[in-house]
């Protein structure tokens, strides 16, 4: 618990955070006008810690992670700062960023079939990264690739190295993608829905693998997911996003035990409970997420919120802390919190 608070409180904990996202906004041009995918998000993450980012489709969680890595579409307009390990990534040249990617931070994406190149062998894809970023020669790169595949739990790595992605199952492909991401010993791993395309028994194995490698390497991780159950046991802190903004951020246990934002509570309540008898009606959130090209002046959740009033519809609540700095939420009428 204490550690978790420290993680969320990295800014105030003395040591500077590994990653700090400062007032980051991302706007994308669309035919219906500019779409504010990310709206003034500030977050920080200390080395070796895991931050969960939870939100539904269109909440901006993926765009935010792309903004961190400066991997936004060319047409996107980014404002704010991303500080990573003492450097302002938004001020770096494309060449400097290219040197940093892979070694400083790496990605694991949802669909390993599309993140791997189908016409290159798995070995070719891992050694390419090792040669490019670490300057290993061919033989050393192959040796390292075999080690990496073994570390992520792929049997017979020498043979598997010569195979193509389609010869691997979904779970094994994701292990390959993780091996590539880990190959240059990144300080930060951004896992964007890493298990959403996988079966439940495989999901558990991949999450275990990520946690084990994170501990072993003292790597920071951002775990992006739509599934609150995935972040519950595997993160130090969680940020909940809605309509491009962080609406609540807290150490993981605090978020689940004493959430203050009605959206967070509704999201947790909407998950079917394993201990509820069959045919128990679910407390569903009514309505639909807002149209991001038509932002409202007030709280984006107000049209779906039971406690919304006139203030909620006209003024957007700021994300702020009340008591301890670790727990922040954006709500004019927060829930009572811990009993």
């Amino acid at each position: 618990m204490g550690q978790a608070i420290q993680a969320a409180e990295a800014v105030g904990a003395g040591t500077p955070p590994l990653l700090s996202i400062e007032s980051v906004s991302v706007e994308l041009p669309t035919r219906r006008g500019p779409l504010r995918a990310v709206d003034g998000v500030s977050l920080s993450l200390a080395a070796g810690r895991t931050l969960g980012i939870v939100g539904e489709s269109g909440s901006g969680k993926t765009m935010l992670s792309r903004a961190v890595a400066q991997l936004l579409p060319a047409s996107a307009c980014l404002s704010g700062r991303v500080r990573f390990d003492g450097q302002d990534l938004t001020a770096l040249s494309p060449q400097a960023l290219r040197r940093l990617r892979g070694r400083a931070f790496a990605f694991v994406f949802q669909d390993p079939m599309t993140s791997l190149n189908p016409v290159l062998t798995v070995g070719g894809q891992i050694t390419e990264t090792l040669k490019e970023h670490l300057g290993l020669d061919g033989a050393a790169a192959v040796r390292r690739a075999i080690e990496l595949l073994a570390q992520v739990g792929i049997p017979n790595p020498e043979q598997r190295l010569k195979q193509y992605p389609h010869q691997f199952s979904g779970g094994m492909r994701q292990r390959v993608a993780i091996a590539i991401a880990l190959s240059c010993e990144p300080k930060l791993l951004i896992a964007d829905e890493p298990t959403t395309a996988l079966d439940v028994t495989v999901q558990a194995q991949i999450l275990d693998l990520l946690a084990r490698e994170q501990r072993r390497r003292h790597m920071a991780m951002i775990l992006i997911t739509h599934d609150l159950a995935v972040v519950a046991g595997r993160t130090d802190a969680v940020a909940v996003m809605y309509a491009g903004r962080v609406v609540e951020r807290a150490p993981t246990r605090t978020l689940f035990r004493a959430m203050r934002m009605p959206y967070t509570r509704a999201l947790i309540a909407a998950i079917p409970k394993l201990d509820a008898p069959p045919h128990t009606p679910l407390p569903a959130i009514s309505g639909l997420p807002p149209d991001p090209t038509r932002p409202s002046p007030g709280c984006a959740f107000a049209p779906r919120c039971a406690s919304a009033d006139a203030q909620c519809r006209t003024a957007a609540p700021p994300l702020k802390a009340v008591d301890v700095g670790a727990h922040q939420f954006a709500c004019w009428h927060p829930l009572a919190g811990a009993p």
């Binding site: 979904g170 079966d199 519950a232 046991g233 909407a270 009606p281 639909l288």
Partner: protein, 343 residues
């Protein structure tokens, strides 16, 4: 026929005194793939009583979608029978099959892909009525308005719009309306909520439950998410690599799983609770290829309890508790009311 079911009483088993609405009897589905045979469904038997919801769970590639499609004759049945209200669908063709199909409908996983984006909602929902020969426009209009209202959409707002204008959750409501417009008796739901966001998923689950009550439906509810299946099912069947492992009343299956695979699935579910212990990964490996399923019990290659017998002899479904059937030589002994599973 509708209304004959007694929904207030959960149906414990499909093989009760009344004839089941659907009986699947030793059903197999094979596909030919580049000279190989994929054994997608291998000798599956079960029954669903009128008014009952049978949940069907399993991982990708276990054959649950092939089973769903075979029941509706959307893929060819290799052997076995599908008895719907006593009539063997596998023996029907042409007009008699088309007549009977009005009473069976299916809802697919991807609501956006299952609707033609360039057609108006009006035309999408009217089409089943036209095929069924409802010639009277006034009558069609009334039924379209009724069903759209029932699924929570405003007919005046949606009927003239095109399918591409709707979100995933709205498209699933439209797909449900299309499935219900002919007032079917059996609806096969193939992963109906897995493409939807959490907040929308709960809405659609509640909607399906409400529609079941309103239209007196019998459901075969297929999903890989056990918590979702538990929320809607009277009984649950578990499939692995084309075979049925276990079938039991919902609470019995979740409290006392008898098949090691069911137990593995239950343990693997992440819980939305930071204090829930993360079980040491019991899962080993991934399902083998259905091109070459293991001999004997198909789960034995991943099973911590496998013995020599599991390699040699295919386990048959047998009853370990009332209405609780399991296909395992070494079932978990907790299958009984006295030893609840620790969480």
């Amino acid at each position: 026929m509708r209304g004959a079911s007694d929904r207030s009483r959960p149906v414990a088993a499909g093989n009760g005194e009344a004839a089941p609405l659907l009986r699947v009897d030793d059903l197999s589905v094979d596909y030919q793939a580049g000279g190989n045979t994929v054994y997608a469904v291998s000798g599956i038997s079960f029954a669903i009583a009128r008014g009952e919801t049978l949940g069907l769970v399993g991982e990708s590639g276990c054959g649950k979608s092939s089973l769903a499609r075979a029941i509706l004759r959307l893929v060819a049945v290799s052997s076995g029978r599908v008895l719907f209200d006593g009539v063997d669908l596998t023996q029907l063709g042409g007009a008699p099959l088309r007549q009977l199909r009005r009473r069976l409908q299916i809802i697919f996983q991807d609501p956006i892909a299952s609707l033609n984006p360039r057609r108006r909602i009006d035309d999408i929902i009217a089409e089943p009525l036209l095929i069924a020969g409802v010639a009277d426009k006034t009558q069609r209009d009334r039924r379209i308005d009724d069903v759209l209202t029932a699924v929570g959409l405003d007919p005046a707002l949606v009927r003239a719009r095109y399918a591409h204008a709707f979100s995933g959750g709205q498209c699933q409501r439209i797909a449900i309306a299309r499935a219900l417009i002919l007032e079917p008796e059996l609806v096969v739901c193939d992963e109906p909520v897995s493409a939807l966001d959490v907040s929308i998923r709960a809405q659609i689950i509640n909607l399906l439950e409400a529609m079941k009550a309103r239209y007196g439906l019998t459901l075969l509810f297929i999903a890989h998410d056990l918590a979702v299946v538990k929320a809607v099912s009277d009984r649950v069947a578990v499939m692995y690599l084309g075979k049925l492992c276990e079938i039991a009343p919902t609470e019995a299956l979740f409290q006392h799983p008898a098949h090691p695979y069911t137990a593995l699935l239950l343990d693997a579910i992440p819980r939305p609770d930071p204090d829930a212990p993360i079980p040491a990964s019991l899962a080993v490996g991934e399902p083998p290829s259905p091109l070459a399923p293991p001999s004997g019990c198909r789960f034995r290659t991943r099973c911590p309890r496998a013995t020599r017998r599991c390699q040699e002899e295919v386990p048959l479904l047998r009853e370990v508790a009332p209405a609780h059937l399991v296909a395992c030589h070494v079932p978990l002994s907790s299958a009984g009311p006295e030893a609840p599973r620790p969480r």
